[in-house]
Each structure stands twice: as C-alpha cells, then as structure tokens.
C-alpha cells in the first residue's frame, strides 16, 4: 500500500488546505504502516518551498515540471495523476476540497476504479482489514454519514479542518517525474482567470467574518474588513448580499455558496436563514452580532452580542489590536 497526496498551488504558494491534507496523509500512512508521498504539478512554486512540504510529516515530494500544468486543467491533471498512480504503485490518493481537487478526484476514481469519499471531516474511525471507515459531512453540513471504502484503491477528499497538522522543521526531498500528455488533455482551454490576489480566501481561512443585509449597504463594509484584518480572517457574506452585488459571488457563504468549517465564524447583521446556517454549521466556534435579539442565528451560536454593529465592530477591532 502507498499513499499519494495531491498538493495544490495558488499564486506561487502551496495551498494551506493541501498542507492539511499532507499532514492527514502522513498520519494515515503511520496508521496503515505504509509510505506517503506528495505530488505537485507545474513549476509555479519554487523548490525550497516544495521541500517545506516535509514540515507536514512526509519525506518525499514528486514534481511534474511541465509548464502547461501551471494552469489547473482538469483533464490534464487527472491524466497526470492516473499515470503517476500506476507508475508509483499508489492505491490511496488524498485531496483537499477545492474546485480543482473535487473535479480531478472524480475523474481519477474512474481511472483507478477507486471508491471515492468526499467531504471527510476527520481521520478514519477504523482502518481494520484495509477497510476505511470515514466520517463525511452530508446534507450541506447538517449531518454526518459514515462511509466505508472496501475497494483496493481509494480516494479521500477532505473538508477544511479535517486535520490540524503540527509543522516541524523537517524538509522533504523533491524528485522530478515525467508523464506523457497530449493536446487532447488540454482540450478545455483556460482563456483567462479573474481572481482576487493578496486576499485570504474563504475555503482556506481558519477564521471568517461575514456580513449580511443588516449592514445596510456595500459602503459600510469597511468595519467588517477592518475586523477581518485584525483577526487575520477571510470575509464572507450572506446570499442576499451577493445577490444584491454588494459583495462578489465567491464570498457567498451558505447552502448554495461556499461551505466553510473554520475555527471561528463571526456573523454580523445576518439573521440566520437555514440556508446560511447550512454553510457554517461545521464551524468550531460561532459568534453572532445582531441588533435583533430574536434573530434565529443566536440559537446556533456559541457567543452573541445583541446590539448595533456600527458601534460594536470598531470596538472589537480596537480590542483585538491591543492583544
């Protein structure tokens, strides 16, 4: 048995959720008594950064140094993984949840005839007899389900915060590996990408601050952004706010938007419709700030403040900066 962890890159860096997956894979390898290897596609991340994947518990990193893979083209990625899985004798592949990872994992499952479990929330409940018992988030975060993978080949796709690795100073050796790709693999062409840069992204964030209609208009978002900055948090919003174009669509947290599972979720001026709660219920600690004491969100919260956000937020930001 051998484990491969797919490590995604963004803007020349390794993605935080992928490093969690590396830690998860290293721990799973220990439990199964096998080896775990990480895989990076493309050349956008420098070698010294790749070696630091070793901080998360593995000693070997494979890199496919093909510049065409600097763009996340789903078919090219799945064909690359398919070749490496067979040449390296891999039977278990681990992905962090992402728009690319999910898409690649599904295609790879067909190539490997692998059982695929997605939205995994923790280490396996059991690995006895090579059968993995995995806890998954289902019904948009409203429940868990235990899924068993009994197939010889397995693919695990992890939800954010499924594992909290403790980084060491160990470095991994980086080996180059080649695969053979044709034009067909690059048939879906990415013409351009519109993406915010230099901003902490929602799915990656350990802390999230979200605003709702209670903030009255996009011009009032400064106090939300200030609080998020002081916390080192990503910013999100409710569905009405993104529907009204007060905030971009990728910030929409909820049933049909981004589902988050950070350590800290702060909701400001969001009443707590069931569709919003579905996207945040996996958060470890939920704080609700709302001027309406009857807002249903308070029932799902760990901490609450009933009051005026315009008065409270600047005070919280100031208190945080003083820490």
């Amino acid at each position: 048995m051998a484990i491969l962890i797919f490590v995604e890159t963004a803007d020349g860096e390794l993605r935080g959720s992928s490093l969690e997956a590396v830690g998860y894979g290293a721990e799973l390898a220990k439990q199964l008594g096998t080896q775990a290897t990480a895989l990076v596609l493309g050349t956008s991340v420098a070698g010294d950064k790749l070696a630091k994947i070793g901080n998360y518990g593995i000693s070997r990193v494979l890199q496919v140094s093909d510049e065409r893979l600097n763009q996340g083209i789903i078919q090219a990625y799945s064909n690359t993984l398919g070749q490496i899985v067979s040449s390296e004798g891999i039977d278990t592949v681990i992905f962090a949840k992402s728009s690319l990872g999910d898409a690649v994992a599904a295609r790879l499952a067909v190539k490997m005839q692998a059982g695929l479990a997605s939205n995994i929330t923790e280490l396996p409940l059991s690995v006895a007899g090579g059968v993995l018992q995995l806890k998954r988030s289902v019904y948009t975060g409203k429940a868990f389900q235990i899924t068993e993978l009994k197939t010889p080949n397995k693919i695990l796709a992890l939800k954010k915060n499924a594992f909290a690795p403790i980084p060491t100073s160990d470095l991994a050796t980086v080996e180059s590996i080649t695969v053979s790709l044709s034009d067909v693999d690059f048939g879906a062409k990415i013409l351009k990408t519109d993406k915010v840069t230099g901003e902490l992204l929602l799915p990656e964030a350990d802390k999230v601050v979200s605003g709702g209609r209670g903030l009255k208009g996009p011009e009032n978002w400064g106090i939300v952004l200030d609080l998020a900055k002081a916390l080192g948090a990503a910013t999100g919003c409710s569905k009405p706010v993104s529907d009204l174009d007060w905030r971009p669509h990728h910030e929409h947290v909820g049933q049909t938007g981004v589902k988050v599972s950070p350590n800290l979720y702060i909701a400001i001026g969001i009443s707590g419709a069931i569709q919003h709660l579905a996207g945040v219920s996996a958060s470890k600690c939920i704080v609700v700030i709302n001027k309406d004491a009857d807002a249903p969100f308070f029932k799902a919260a760990d901490y609450g403040i009933v009051g005026d956000a315009f008065e409270i937020l600047p005070r919280l930001t100031k208190a945080l900066r003083a820490l």
């Binding site: 898409a103 499952a109 235990i146 993406k195 929602l202 799915p203």
Partner: protein, 212 residues
C-alpha cells in the same frame, strides 16, 4: 423533486435549445417514484425523458448508467447539477466525463455555445476561470447559470404526451458503502455578552473558546 442545482442545469439546457434549436433529453437514475420529476422536466421544456430503473446507490453506479445512455445517444452537452443536495458528493459529472473521455467542468456559472465551441465561466476559489472547450462536454452547473423555470399549464399538458422511456440499468458494483448517520454535536447554547462591554467577547474567544 428536482435537485436545486439540477434545476439550474435543466433551465440553461432548455434556454440554449429555445435559442439555437436541438433537443433536450431529461435523464434520471431512480425508481418509479421519481417519474413526477421527469414529467416536470418535460413540462419545463425537455423533449423526451429517460429513466434508468434503479436505486441510485452510489456516484459511480449513477455515472455508469449516464455514460451508458450517453454513448448510445451522442449528446453534445450533458448538463447536471454541481452536486446533489443530500450527499453533496459532486462526483458524477467528473466520472461521466472520464468514462466518455470528454472534458468535464464544474462548478459552471455561465455557458454559451457557438457552433461546436462552448465558452464557460467556472467558479474557483476567489474568482472565476473563463474556459473555451469543444463539444461534447459535461457541465456541473450552479447559479447564476439561468433562472429556475416554473412549468406553465401548456407545458404541463404537453408533458403528458411526451415520451418517457424506462430502461434497465447496466451492471455495476458499488464502490462505496453508505452507513449510519450522525447528527452534529449540539452546541451548548449561546453565551451573551452585553453590548456595553463588547470587548469582553475578545477575551472569551481567547481564553475560553481558545480560537484566537
């Protein structure tokens, strides 16, 4: 009922058909109780429907059935929701794409077709990608790809006479086994901090909840 994401997918497929011609087939893998959903899809504007008569036991099984039907019918575009609203797997579109060896793209927020080429917006973390791909392809759809369509009376009447073909499934073992469910751990209740001493929240988050 039709899944929320699948409703978006169906609506966009019908829009493209209405603007550019062609036909839309509504396909479902499910037992007889799912037929009202297919009739609704016909009422919304699909031309015909196919039901694969089987319990949809896992994503791989469902993808195998869809790929089998697609091989026989040579569809140009296969629309589906980005994920189901129960298991949230989001796997079937990718699996079908791989089984048919054609591109699969998800989550798709916009798609237009010109001749044999589709232009697509795919949502990624923090933004979107603009993609160009030749048909055939598989799309996992989400809002705002189209507005949900509500069937009108004429649609409902005509749906009754549109063909709904029932076919037997092809054999495929499940690759995953679904077991028991668990509820989320209950939260211990909301601790309120008075607005006049809002700063106390920061102290609680640091020292009690230990999340700062």
């Amino acid at each position: 009922m039709i899944g929320p994401y699948d409703d978006y997918a169906l609506a966009r497929a019908v829009e493209i058909k209405e603007a550019q011609g062609g036909t839309v087939t509504a396909l479902n893998v499910g037992l007889i109780e799912t037929e009202p959903s297919l009739r609704k899809a016909l009422a919304i504007g699909a031309d015909d429907a196919i039901r694969v008569d089987a319990e949809p036991t896992d994503a791989y099984f469902v993808a195998t059935q869809i790929a089998e039907i697609a091989r026989k019918n040579n569809y140009d575009m296969i629309f589906m929701g980005r994920e189901s609203s129960d298991y949230n797997g989001g796997q079937v579109h990718g699996m079908v794409g791989e089984m048919l060896n054609i591109p699969s793209l998800s989550p798709v927020m916009k798609v237009d077709v010109d001749g044999n080429v589709a232009t697509i917006n795919r949502e990624i973390e923090g933004g979107k990608e603009y993609i160009e791909a030749s048909l055939p392809l598989v799309l996992g759809c989400q809002e705002p790809i189209a507005e949900w369509k509500i069937p009108n009376m004429r649609g409902i009447m005509s749906a009754r006479s549109k063909p709904l073909l029932v076919v037997a499934p092809v054999a495929q073992d499940n690759l995953t086994e679904s077991g028991r469910y668990e509820l989320l751990p209950a939260r211990s209740g909301c601790k309120f901090v008075d607005a006049s001493e809002a700063e106390k929240l920061i102290e609680l988050l640091k020292n009690e909840a230990k999340v700062l």
